[in-house]
Every structure is written in C-alpha cells, then in structure tokens.
C-alpha cells in the first residue's frame, strides 16, 4: 500500500511545475537560512499571499521546501561566522565554527549537507512507513510528560559547555528567567516588561543568538587581531574542502543516531529541529571517547546535530498532516496555507486527499536531493567568503546583524536587545560563562512553564501528578540520575 501511495505521490511531485516550485522553495529557504534574522516563519508569512492563486499541492510543496531549505541554510553562517542563521543551528556554532578556524570550513559544510540529506531522506522514509501510527503514540504526551521531557532536556543542556556543571546550570536558569519576559503564556499579564510595549512579545531567540554568538565573536576577534588570519586559511580545491574518509568514519554513527533522535523528537508537538539538535550534541559528547574534543572542532558535533535538526524538522510534518496538530510556528503557517485552499490537515487527510499527503511526502525526497545537489558545489563559494579579509568581514557582520535584527519584526526594541546581548555575550566570554546553555534553556523555557503550570492545574496544585504518570516519572528520575552522576563519580573517585 505504501508503495502505491508513494508512486501516487511521486507522480504528482515530479511534474515539471511541482519540481520547479520545490526548487524555488529549496533555494529561497537556503537563502533565508543564511540571512541572519529573517527566519522561515517570517518568510512563509511573507510568501503566503503569493500562494493563494497556486494549486494547493504546489503551494505546500514550495512552502515546505522553504522550511527544510532554511534548516540547511542556517548551518552555513553558523559554521562560517558563528552566527546561527536560525535557532536550530545554534548548536552547530559550537564545533562548526571551531572547524572553520582550523581551516576545515569545507569539511564542516560538507558533512552538514550530506548529514542533512541522509537524515532528511531517512526521515521522509520514516514518515511514509510509520509516521501516522507513531503520531498517535506522541499524542499520549500530556503536560506532565512534557515537563519531564523538558527537565531532562535542561539537565542535558548543562552538558553542552566545557566548564563546571554549576556554572552551566546557572546559565540555564538565567535562560529560563529570560524566557519569562513578556506576556504570561496562560493569563496574558505582563512580566518584566517595565512598561515597554515592545517587550510584550518577549525576547527574540534569533536576536539573542546573533548577539551572544555573532557580535560577541566579532568583539572578541577585534581584541585579538593575530587570530583573525586563522579563518582565512582554507583549502582552495573542492576535493580538499569536502569531508575525507576519516571524517566520514567519525560522522557515520553520529548521523545515524542524530537521524533517529531527531525523528523521534520531531514527532512530539512542540518538538522539531531545535530540541533535536542539542539532544544529539549532548548524546555525541557523552558517547565520545574524548569528550574534550567537543567545542574545539569535533566533526561529530556538526554531523549529529545537523542530521537531528533536519530529521526533526521533517518529522514535524507528521503531527500536522496526520493529526492536524502543528508542532511549531512554521507548521502552523503551513496548516493555514492548506486551510486557505480548503484542505484540512488531520486524520481524514490521508483518505480524503491522498494526493496532497503523498505528494508532500514525495516532494521531501525530491527537495532533499535538490538541496544536496545545489549546496555541495556551492561549498567552495561559501568557503571563499572566509578569504575576505577580516578587516572587511567583521564590520559587515555587525551591519548584517543590526539589519537582520530589525528585519524580524521592524521593531526597534530588537535592535536595542541585539546590542545588549552582543555586549553581554562578550562580557560573558570574559567571565567564563557559556552562552549555549542560556540560549537553549531560553528555547525550552516557554514549553517548560506552560507544561509545568498546566500539570499543576490538572493535579489541583499537587506535584504528585509527576509521580503518578509513569512516563513523566521515568523522565524525571532519569534527569535526577544524570544530575547526580558527576557527584557519584566524584565520591567514588580515590582521594589523592
């Protein structure tokens, strides 16, 4: 049955018009991913009106192409200039940029492209085969289970950094606190806005990422002119730029693990690429023979998260198409696009409009092939950007960050926040404070607060609800064990 359905999907997705729309989506998505600020959600909103007159299948194929194109494009600037093009690429900065500083930008970009391709293709196959049944399992995740998952995620976040766990936990707590700026997610009352209307919508993750990573790096490099030459020293021949045999040997298992992890987390409502990418990074760091290589340019730190990011992004289509549940903002916009055309995503979609469902699934295969065919030859072009003297590149990064922050919502507060986070990011580096746990805890903060408060509401104010739900209890026990593991290790270690 799956073969017949996929045949139907390919017969629609491979029509010249749909291939063209898929190509447009992949190219626009990659470009949007590269630009700081403007993310896939904003781009889809901007382009939604032009799809009104298009065929519904073609419009969703194009919009979906923009989404997964941006997932790959976001990694390019993370690797080249330490600016995450979008939130799911934050983790790629940690080792991707360090690889670029060691003259290995091409290998990092190559493994990101191939890893994304493999993960995207496997995830699409997973959607075809087991997606609908797995989506029903994911429905069993209620607020207590999400609370458990987020707590486990937060404990894992603290393993991202290099320093002591107390300082990582401290940064994660700061990230959670910053996530409360804006309107209360349940009651709608203002918190930490200090009377500013602009702060009502809260802080923008893209602005924080540009400031804490991109601008902080520019300020750090400005103070160390001798280190600036390291970025420019990149090989020129495409053969030397691509990942070599040793890179593939190191990356194969992280790509496989990242794909499975990304697919599983992407199925959960509220999941998608962001959580998947950092979960993969933490898993790879835990499994590595020498974890100290992570943060210094370990290719596994790029291969795993990039694969997880793409697999998660594509798995997020499952709850949308089979249950009518958008997993994130981008999926909500895609849902809107389908509904404008009179197509209602949900359990009936596969039976009532199999053409739409299977054409979108098949177009993901096509889109993944396009992305790798488009981007691998462009690696030498992207790497050539690093040969631009840092004296020119650094001011341009400042300029693009400011313009990018403004382009998000046309909101002056985003520009002010960018400056604050840029200067704070530099100061944090001086104070040995890691920005990665802060940023990722910020991402999880919204989901954490909502699920925690909803759980307590369901449990009539009693925290015992977390003990009575088996999945939630298991996740919380795992989190506690992970947190206590370093303490236990320290106690077991022989005293000198």
């Amino acid at each position: 049955v799956v073969e017949a359905n996929l045949f139907l999907g390919f017969s629609i997705a491979l029509t010249p018009a749909n291939v063209f729309y898929c190509l447009v989506g992949a190219v626009v998505g990659t470009a949007i991913g590269v630009l700081p600020g403007l993310g896939p959600a904003a781009t889809l909103s901007l382009l939604l009106p032009i799809t009104f007159r298009m065929d519904p299948v073609a419009s969703v194929i194009m919009l979906a192409g923009i989404y997964y194109g941006s997932l790959y494009g976001g990694s390019i600037t993370s690797i080249l200039v330490n600016i995450p093009g979008e939130a799911a690429s934050v983790v790629t900065c940690l080792d991707g940029y360090q690889m670029a500083r060691r003259g290995r930008a091409g290998a990092a970009l190559g493994i990101a492209a191939f890893g994304s391709f493999i993960a995207g293709t496997v995830a699409t196959l997973g959607i075809s085969l087991v997606g609908p049944s797995l989506a029903r399992v994911a429905l069993g995740f209620g607020p207590p289970e999400f609370t458990g998952l987020v707590v486990l995620g937060l404990v894992l976040v603290t393993r991202l950094g290099q320093g002591p766990i107390v300082r990582s936990l401290m940064m994660a707590a700061l990230g959670l606190l910053l996530s409360t700026v804006g309107l209360d997610p349940i009651l709608g009352t203002e918190r930490f806005t200090f009377g500013s209307v602009s702060l009502g919508d809260g802080l923008e993750i893209a602005v924080m990422a540009m400031g804490l990573f991109g601008l902080a790096e520019v300020l750090t490099m400005a103070g160390a002119p001798a280190e600036q030459a390291s970025l420019a020293a990149q090989p020129r021949r495409i053969r030397d730029l691509l990942p070599d045999r040793a890179d593939w040997q190191r990356s194969a298992a992280p790509i496989a693990r990242g794909t499975v992890l990304g697919f599983a987390l992407g199925l959960l409502p509220g999941g998608g690429g962001i959580i998947a990418s950092f979960a993969s990074y933490v898993v790879e760091k835990r499994l590595a023979r020498d974890p100290s290589r992570f943060g210094q340019g370990a290719i596994e730190g790029v291969a795993g998260p990039e694969s997880a990011n793409n697999a998660g992004g594509q798995a997020a289509f499952v709850p949308l198409l089979t249950l009518g549940l958008p997993a994130n903002v981008v999926m909500a916009i895609l849902m809107g696009a389908l509904m404008i055309h009179g197509v209602t995503p949900g359990p009936m979609l596969m039976t009532q409009r199999p053409d739409v469902f299977w054409a979108v699934v098949a177009s993901m295969y096509v889109g993944n092939v396009m992305l790798v065919v488009l981007n691998v030859p462009l690696i030498s072009v992207f790497v050539a950007m690093l040969r631009v003297p840092y004296a020119i590149l650094a001011p341009l990064i400042v300029l693009f960050c400011v313009v990018g922050a403004y382009s998000l919502n046309g909101n002056p507060a985003d520009v002010v926040a960018l400056v604050v986070f840029g200067l704070a990011g530099w100061a944090m580096r001086r104070g040995a404070l890691d920005a990665a746990p802060l940023l990722l805890a910020f991402v999880l903060g919204g989901i954490f607060e909502r699920s925690l408060r909803q759980s307590l509401l369901i449990g009539l104010g009693s925290p015992l609800i977390f003990v009575t739900r088996p999945i939630a209890a298991t996740l919380l026990v795992l989190a506690v064990l992970l947190l206590l593991a370093p303490v236990a290790r320290a106690l077991r270690a022989p005293r000198a």
Partner: protein, 143 residues
C-alpha cells in the same frame, strides 16, 4: 577563580536577586493553581542559589584569552552602539555611511576609496535585498 569569572557569578547573582524581588510583586499562587509569578520566582530563586554556589567552585584551568587591543574592542563596541542608534533615528543609508566609513578607514586602516565603496556598496545591497526584495521597510530617518 579569576576576577572576571567572579564578576560573572556576581552579575548572575544580582540578576537572580532582582528576579526574586520582582517576582514577589506578582501573584505567585492562586487557589489550587500557580499564578504568573510562580515560574519567574522559581527560576530566579534557582539562579540565585546556583550563582551563589558558583562563587565557591573552582573553574576552568585556562584563563580567558587576553585582550591584545582594548582600543579595537572599544572601537567596535562604540560602532555597534552608534550604528544601532543612528540606524533607527537617522535611517539605514546615513547610519551605514557615517559609522562604517570611519570604522574601515581609521580602525581597519583601509584606504578612503575602499572604505567609501564598501560602505556605500553594502548600504545599496542591504537596501535592495531587505527593503525591495524581502519587503522589510528599512528605517529612512527624518529626511
């Protein structure tokens, strides 16, 4: 623990304490459910505790990299602040020329011709890309 690391912990402690005080001004619990101050209070209390604990931890062996040129860091930080302000109030084109020509010329020691052409070229490219193609209305200033 170095002075800058201690300063980082103290800054986090200050933010945590501010968060606790500010959260306590909001309702924290209402009947059988948490109110809007619950989560900020929880996170800021945890932050305060961890920041205090971090003051007593031994940190990484490698000290933060030394700053070879504070003058350049200051110049970039100043350029960032001035550009953000001018961008919003004087417009994108004026801000780009006023801030980046001197930055290229006096901090990065490029020639006048290169400084002017790169700044002007970038202003045009970003305007076409963001304003014309992507529909982002760039600030034009009072003129």
């Amino acid at each position: 623990m170095s002075g800058s690391e201690r300063a980082g912990s103290l800054a986090a402690l200050a933010v945590g304490l501010f968060g606790v005080v500010h959260s306590l001004r909001m309702p924290v619990w209402s009947g059988t459910e948490p109110a809007e101050g619950f989560f900020p209070l929880l996170t800021s209390a945890v932050l305060t505790g961890l920041a205090a604990a971090s003051l007593f931890t031994t940190t990484r062996a490698d000290a933060p990299a030394t700053v070879a040129s504070w003058r350049r860091v200051g110049a970039y930080a100043f350029a960032l602040i001035v550009y953000a302000a001018l961008f919003l109030y004087a417009g994108h084109a004026v801000a780009t020329l006023v801030v980046f020509v001197p930055l290229f010329r006096f901090v990065e020691r490029l020639s006048w011709v290169r400084s002017l052409s790169i700044a002007a070229g970038t202003a045009v490219v970003t305007y076409v890309l963001f304003d014309r193609l992507l529909g982002v209305s760039m600030p034009r200033g009072p003129w």
